[in-house]
């Protein structure tokens, strides 16, 4: 990985974690997909980046941040894990073992950002009392963004530029038969975690029957190659029917 490549990925991560691209950063931060896409673009291996990030996405399904803090930062995890897999040309399964610990560390960085932002508050108050609109906008919009870039760019750059080749080499030596089997077991099994979280967030136990319906439909038609879009159309139709019937009952 060149200096330029590491820097570009670090800048993307900082842009997402500073939330300076607006609410659009929600999917970029909560899901590893866009970070994986950028890594694939910068490192020039889109197919491997996407198959790897799809594996990571499964363990990060259902991540929500009530109150702003998350137990893990999928964007940071994905930037690091996908880079490592591409640098060492590893199996996509290896990404899970890198993503989980990196994501946990990343969540501390995000909390540090909240702490840094408190320094801008006194300045905001000082501008507000004087009705200084320009100054207020500067301290609300610009300075916190700058804080985040100062926090995330150097750390991500060092982790990617120096860390990725080392981790990659280490993963390469241990990823022989049995370890790779364990990693793919973990990857395939952890997908259950994200799905269970999403179900918990939706939270309506009465509607669980629709989960069972879809699950067994998928299991018995696994060989038929029905696309996700097709299933979604069925899902929408069933949801609309549900709406119609319950509305009738409510009347």
């Amino acid at each position: 990985m060149s200096v330029m490549q590491a820097l570009l990925i670090a800048l993307f991560v900082a842009a997402v974690e500073s939330r300076a691209l607006g609410y659009a950063t929600l999917t970029m931060r909560f899901s590893p997909l866009m970070a994986g896409f950028v890594v694939g673009l910068v490192l020039g291996n889109m197919p491997l980046a996407m198959t790897t990030v799809a594996t990571i996405q499964l363990i990060y399904m259902g991540v929500v941040a009530p109150g702003g803090a998350m137990p893990s930062e999928p964007c940071i995890a994905s930037a690091m894990a996908v880079s490592t897999v591409i640098v060492g040309n590893l199996e996509p399964e290896a990404a899970v073992a890198i993503a989980v610990p990196v994501g946990l560390l990343g969540s501390y960085l995000y909390q540090l950002r909240f702490f840094l932002n408190t320094f801008a508050i006194t300045k905001m108050d000082a501008c507000a009392v004087k009705a200084d609109s320009k100054g207020l906008a500067f301290w609300i919009g610009f300075m916190p963004t700058l804080f985040s870039f100062v926090l995330f760019v150097p750390l991500m750059f060092v982790a990617l530029y120096l860390g990725a080749p080392v981790v990659s080499g280490f993963m390469d030596t241990i990823s022989n038969g049995p370890v790779l089997h364990v990693l793919s077991t973990v990857g395939g099994g952890l997908a259950a975690l994200g799905i269970a979280i999403t179900m918990h967030v939706i939270g309506n136990r009465k509607l669980l029957v629709f989960f069972f319906l879809a699950y067994f439909l998928q299991v018995i038609t696994a060989q038929a190659g029905i696309t996700m879009i097709t299933w979604a159309i069925f899902g929408v139709i069933i949801a609309l029917c549900y709406g119609m019937f319950t509305e009738k009952a409510a009347e």
Binding site: G22, Y23, L26, T27, S31, L33, G36, F37, L41, M46, P47, L48, M50, Q57, L58, V63, V64, G68, N117, T118, A120, I121, A128, K130, A131, L136, A137, W139, I140, G141, P144, T145, V182, T185, G188, G189, L190, A192, L193, I195, A196, I197, T198, M199, V201, I202, L207, F210, F211, A214, Y215, L217, I220, M228, I229, W231, A232, F234, G235, A239
Partner: protein, 316 residues
């Protein structure tokens, strides 16, 4: 200052135009409402374009200045700035309004932020106009209490619908493309989610503005939104069922030969109920969360440990 206290009908010019004269011991401006009188202080009309500005600024700034002590209050203040400037021509009144909207506030961006910023604009407009006309105006603390009262319940709805359901429906929809190595699998969920939430967030802002505080009631108690929420729940759970059947790959390699006959455990399991192992994993975790609450890190570490041990022993 003594003139203000003694005479009721003092001219606007006689009031101090220095904010220092209005500060209380906490450094908050307690402006004299008479500062708002006069033709030069007449609030401008709020247009749909202004509402778009408010929504866009809040949408952009939503998480940028997030901090532990004020949470996302400065973001809402940033969003409201153009409207406040149009309503409060007097710098002291404007400063008071800025201070008001820098007080603690936290909510979800689309359902909470959209509706609350719309309601706040309508309340501020009502207040500014009444003050300018010299009538009884809405108290500033009432605006603050409205925001504080609504932020929690609306954030609860917004978090579970936007981040918890809508986002994952889009991701589920295109994950297959990502798995096959296509960049569209990453870009499409992002574009769809950002576009959808931007559009209905603006509709919420407008709804909050036109309906005032009734808008929040409509969302929290209204029948129509309730059925939209449960329909999204049906679709969300349906997609999770498909995801579980497709992507959770837990199977057992256990096989042995018993009196010359080969016995493969997975085949036996498939004979009883296909896909039973992944289903058990998902349901086990689901009921763990239902019982113990959202202990994600705990569940992740525990479940990983189980998978590592079972995988290493050759049971999975």
């Amino acid at each position: 200052m003594s003139e203000i206290e003694t005479t009721e009908t003092v001219a606007t010019e006689a009031l101090s135009q220095d904010y220092h004269d209005y500060l209380d011991e906490d450094g908050m401006i307690q402006a004299d409402p008479r500062l708002m009188l006069g033709e030069e202080n007449k609030p401008e009309e709020i247009t749909t374009k202004d509402l778009m500005k408010v929504w866009f600024r809040w949408w952009w700034c939503n998480e940028v200045p997030h901090s532990f002590d004020r949470m996302v209050a400065p973001s809402l203040c940033f969003g409201l700035m153009p409207v406040l400037k149009k309503l409060y021509k007097n710098p002291i009144m404007l400063g008071e309004a800025y201070q008001r909207h820098l007080q603690f506030f936290n909510t979800q961006a689309v359902w909470g932020g959209g509706i609350i910023s719309g309601i706040t604009v309508s309340l501020e407009e009502e207040r500014a106009k009444a003050l300018n006309a010299g009538e009884d105006a809405i108290d500033a603390s009432m605006i603050q209490n409205t925001k504080i009262g609504l932020m929690g319940p609306l954030a609860g709805i917004g978090d579970s619908i936007d981040s918890g359901t809508v986002q994952y429906i889009f991701i589920a929809l295109f994950l297959g493309m990502a798995q096959e190595g296509s960049w569209l699998g990453a870009v499409l969920p992002f574009v769809c989610f950002a576009t959808a939430t931007f559009i209905y967030g603006f509709l919420f802002t407008r709804m909050g503005y036109t309906m005032g505080r009734r808008a929040a009631l409509e969302v929290m108690k209204g029948g129509k939104i309730k059925s939209v929420i449960s329909a999204l729940g049906v679709l969300g759970l349906f997609m999770m069922g498909i995801m579980a059947g497709r992507y959770v790959t837990i199977s057992t390699p256990i096989a042995f030969t018993m009196s010359g006959k080969e016995f493969v455990l997975q085949q036996t399991l498939d004979g009883i109920l296909p896909g039973i192992l992944p289903l058990c994993a998902v349901l086990g975790l689901f009921f763990f969360f239902q019982k113990k609450g959202m202990k994600v890190t705990q569940a992740m570490l525990g479940f990983t440990a189980i998978l590592v041990v079972l995988g290493a022993l050759g049971i999975l």
